[in-house]
C-alpha cells in the first residue's frame, strides 16, 4: 500500500472519538491495522511511511502503556516523535492547556496525540490547533484507539456482526466503555453493560445497550467479556462497599469461566487489578486475549497515525 497515494476514508483532520465514525471507516482503520501487522512483521520491522511527519504525544494524565504504545507505533512507521507529559491542570501550571499545546505545535508538529483527564480536551485542542488531533483518552468520554484495538482483537477470532459482548465493571467512569459501545454497535454486535448499579448510569440504555447487574446471569449468553478496570482514581467516594465485594460479584474467576459460553473471549483493557476484575488464573489462561490486545494496540495506532498523516498531506497539497 502506498500511503501517500491511498484514497481517503473521509476521516477528516482529527480522530476524536468512535461516535463520529461510520462502520466503513472503522473497518478501514482495522484493515489498515492488519496491513501494518503484516508490513512490520508483527511490529519487528521499521517502515518509513511517515517520514517527515512529527508526532507530539501530549499526555496530561499519567499513562505508561498508551504513551509507550503511541510512541513506538509512530517510530515504527517512520515518524519523529516528541513527548510532553504533565499531570497538572491549567490552573496549577498558570499556563492554559491550549497555550501549552500551541507552544508545542509551533515547533512544527503535524499530529498531536492527546491524553487528558477532562472530557472534551481534544475537541478544545482541535478547535485551536492546525495540527491533526488524535484522542488518546479524554477523561470519562472516549478512548477511540482502545476500542479499535479491542475490536481488532475480537475480529481476529470471530466475526463481530451478531456477537454479544459484555462490558463489565465501572461503566460510569469508563471512556473505554463508551468508545466500545459506539464501535461494537456500528459493527453489528449487541452490547450488555454489567456492573454495580452505582457505576452504571441509568440513562445508558438510551445508547442502545442492555443493562445487567449479575455477571453470572449473562455469562451463558455472551460471546465476549471486556473487563474494565475499576477506576479508583476517578471515583469520588465509595461506589461499592469493598473491593472484596466487587470481586465477589463481578470478578472473572476460573469458576465463572466454566459456566460461560464455550469459546468465551476475555478482554481487559488494563492496567488490570489482578484479583479484582479477574483472577490471575483467567488473566493468564487460554481465554485471555490481554496480550494480543497490547500488540494490536501498536498496529491500530500505526493505522490511525498514518490515516491522519494522509489527511494532513492531502490538506497540505490542497493549500
Amino acid at each position: 500500500m502506498s500511503v501517500a497515494g491511498s484514497e481517503t476514508i473521509g476521516l477528516g483532520q482529527h480522530l476524536l472519538g468512535i461516535e463520529q465514525l461510520s462502520a466503513e471507516q472503522i473497518t478501514a482503520i482495522l484493515d489498515r491495522a492488519e496491513h501494518y501487522r503484516e508490513a512490520t512483521r508483527g511490529g519487528t520491522e521499521k517502515l518509513d511511511d511517515l517520514r517527515g511527519i512529527v508526532v507530539a504525544n501530549l499526555f496530561f494524565e499519567p499513562s505508561t502503556r498508551t504513551r509507550t504504545s503511541f510512541n513506538l507505533a509512530a517510530r515504527r512507521i517512520g515518524a519523529d516523535t516528541v513527548d510532553f507529559t504533565s499531570s497538572g491542570s491549567s490552573l496549577s501550571k498558570g499556563e492554559t492547556f491550549v497555550d501549552t499545546a500551541l507552544t508545542i505545535e509551533a515547533m512544527g508538529v503535524d499530529l498531536v496525540v492527546c491524553r487528558h483527564r477532562t472530557p472534551g480536551a481534544p475537541q478544545l485542542l482541535a478547535h485551536h490547533l492546525k495540527a491533526g488531533v488524535l484522542n488518546a483518552g479524554d477523561g470519562t468520554h472516549e478512548h477511540p484507539t482502545q476500542a479499535l484495538l479491542d475490536m481488532l482483537t475480537i475480529r481476529q477470532r470471530r466475526e463481530i456482526r451478531g456477537l454479544k459482548v459484555a462490558l463489565v465493571g465501572d461503566i460510569r467512569h469508563s471512556r473505554v466503555a463508551r468508545s466500545n459501545i459506539h464501535g461494537l454497535q456500528k459493527l453489528g454486535a449487541s452490547v450488555i453493560v454489567c456492573g454495580p448499579a452505582t457505576l452504571i448510569p441509568r440513562t445508558i440504555t438510551q445508547m442502545g445497550v442492555e443493562v445487567a447487574h449479575s455477571l453470572d446471569e449473562i455469562l451463558p449468553e455472551v460471546d465476549c467479556v471486556n473487563l474494565l478496570r475499576v477506576q479508583f482514581e476517578r471515583q469520588r467516594g465509595a461506589f461499592f462497599p469493598s473491593i472484596e465485594e466487587y470481586a465477589h460479584l463481578f470478578g472473572m474467576t476460573g469458576e465463572r469461566i466454566k459456566r460461560a459460553k464455550e469459546g468465551l473471549l476475555v478482554l481487559a483493557p488494563g492496567p488490570i487489578n489482578r484479583g479484582v476484575e479477574l483472577t490471575p488464573e483467567v488473566a493468564d489462561g487460554p481465554h485471555s486475549l490481554i496480550l494480543n490486545q497490547v500488540t494490536n494496540g501498536l498496529f491500530v495506532r500505526m493505522a490511525c497515525l498514518s490515516l491522519l498523516a494522509d489527511e494532513r498531506r492531502r490538506l497540505r497539497q490542497e493549500t
Partner: protein, 430 residues
Amino acid sequence: MHRRLIANGTVIDPANDIDQTGSLLIEGGQVSGFIPGDVPADIEAEVIDATGLLVAPGFVDTHVCVGEPGFEEDETIASAALAAAAGGITSIATMPSTNPVVDNRGAAEFVKHQAAQVAGCRVYPMGAVTRGIDGKELAEIGQLAEFGAVAFTDAKSPIANAEIMRRALEYTGMFNCPILHNAIVPELSETGVMHEGFQSTRLGLRGIPAAAQDIMTGRDIALAELTGGRVHIMCVTTTASVEQIRIARQRNIRVSGDVTPHHLLLDDTVMDSFDTLCKVLPPLRSPDHIQSLIEGLKDGTITSISSDHQPLAIEKKQIELDIAPYGICGLETLLSSCVRALIEPGHLSWLELIRLLTTGPAELLGIEGGTLSRGRDADVVLIDPKREITIDACQFQSRSRNTPFDRETFRGAVVKTVVAGNVVYDRDAA
C-alpha cells in the same frame, strides 16, 4: 422644567395595565403622564420618536455579578452599569460574591459609593446571608440592610445548613428583605459540569441531577413556611422545582422564583461542543425541564426573569471544562434572548414578558422602578420588536465576552434606554 415626549410608541406598562399606542410625557426626570392616541399638537417638549417601537419601563435585574471589588478583570460596577443600559436594564441588584464579600456595612457602602459615580443604571447592593458566603455564620444583616442592601443572598454558594437557613429567614424577616438562594444540594452538584441525563452519560461529563435543585427547593419552601420568611429561588431549572413553587404559592407560602433566558434557550445537547461558555450553575437542562419552566412562566408560578450575569475574563474560560468557572455574560443579550425564547414561539405576550422583566423583579427587591406610573422616575426602555441584530461580544459594554450567543442573529432589540429622563443608551449612536 425640561420636558420630553416619547411619542407614538406602543406603551406597555404592566403595573398600570397599559398596552396601547400613545406617548409618554417626562418632566424633570419623572413620568408625568401617558397620553393615549395621537400626539397632541400643542405640546411643547423635546420629542423622541417611538413610532413602531415598544415603550416599556426599564428592566430590573435581580442577579448581576459586578466583579468589583476584587475581580475587576471581569467587570466593574461602571462597566456593568453600561452593559445593563445596553440591555435595557435600568436597575440592577448586585451579588455580594466579591472580594471582599459584601457581608458588612463597609462593603455595602463601597458598592453604593461606586454606584453613585456611574451613569447608565441604578445599582442596588445585595448583602451576604452568611459571613464570607461560606454558609456558617450570619453576616451583619441588620447593618447591611441599614446601609442599603435590598436583599440577601450568598450568590452561587448554596446555604447547605438548614439551621443557618432557618435563622437567616427569621432574621431577614425583621428587615422585610427576601433571601435569594441558589437552591442546589452541594453534595449532588459539586464538580458537576452539566445536567445529569443521557447527554452527560454520552459525553462522560459529570452531571448535576435535577434532584439537586428539587431537594433544596423543597427544603427552602418548608423553611419559609416554618419561619414566615421570604425565599426566592434563583435560576429555577427543573420540573419538580416549578411544581413545588406552584403548590407553595397556592398555599400562600412566601416563595418565588426566577428563570434566565439561557436556561430557556439552550438545552443540554449544546454540551456536545464541550464549550466552556455553556457551563453554568445550575446547568442547562433537558428539553422536558425547559417545557416546565415555560409553563411556570405562563401560569405565574415564576415571577421574574434575571440575566444571571456572570462576567468572566476570556482566559478563565479557555481552560479545561471541568475546572472552568460557571457563568454566562448575560446583561446585553437579556431582551433579545427572551424574545427568541418566549415571544417568537408564542408562549408569552409582550405585556407578560415585560411584567417578568419589570414589576416582578422590582416587587421582589422592594424597590421603586419597573413602572411608568405618574410621579415615578422616568426609567424607560424603547424596544424595536422587529429589528434584527447580530450579537458581537467584542462590542459588549461589559468587560467580559463569555456569551454562547456570539455571532448569532436575534430579532427584537433594545434601541434606547432612559434613566431619570436622560438617554443613557442609544443603539444608533453607539
